[in-house]
């Protein structure tokens, strides 16, 4: 009798645990003012970065950042501006990964989030853009 009772309780607890796991898998919190502001900032910058991706001057790194790949693809007079764009973009990206981890109250997830983004930036990149493959070599998509 008591055993049956405990079995029932254990089963219920197991179900609750599974439900909790499913819930944890549901969605990450990304709707915070900080994340929204970073998104807008990066979206505005993309208008300037997009032609640089297309020309191959700038590429996507394997760690979820961007980097100058071929400075010669940019006229000398504009190189400083491109470096500034790349630095600003990487600052926003680092802040984005950190903010998502913090918004979900899991600061230790930051590296995993960066890794996920690194893969998705590359997966969603346009054909012709450059990215770093797993060994760090620049590859044309």
């Amino acid at each position: 009798m008591i055993i049956a009772h405990w079995l029932r309780i254990s089963l219920l607890a197991l179900l609750l645990l599974l439900a909790g796991r499913a819930l944890a898998q549901a969605n990450l919190e990304i709707n915070t003012p900080a994340i929204g502001a970073l998104q807008r900032s990066m979206q505005e910058r993309h208008a300037q970065l997009s032609p640089l991706f297309t020309s191959g001057a700038v590429g996507l790194t394997r760690d979820g950042s961007v980097a100058v790949r071929d400075a010669n693809a940019v006229p000398l007079a504009q190189r400083a501006q491109v470096n500034g764009l790349v630095a600003a973009e990487n600052q926003d990206r680092a802040a984005l990964y950190r903010e998502i981890a913090q918004a979900n109250k899991r600061p230790e997830w930051e590296t995993d989030i960066r890794g996920t983004f690194a893969q998705r930036w590359i997966d969603r990149a346009q054909g012709g853009w450059y990215y770093q493959n797993a060994s760090g070599a620049w590859t044309r998509k």
């Binding site: 607890a13 645990l17 990450l28 997830w109 995993d112 930036w121």
Partner: protein
Amino acid sequence: MRRSGLSIITAIFGACSLGACVTINIYFPAAAAERAADRIIEEVWQLKPEAGKPQSSKPASQ
């Protein structure tokens, strides 16, 4: 006798659930992170949601 049997079961069960909680907290939700990344990338790069992956928020223009 019955009492001590019960508390042993309780102790084992308690330890198991505690372990399960710790496991859940450490676990990184890779699929959820991927969806979150896609939503942000679509916003930043102004892309349409990938086919087969229905997105909620707003219909992609362009």
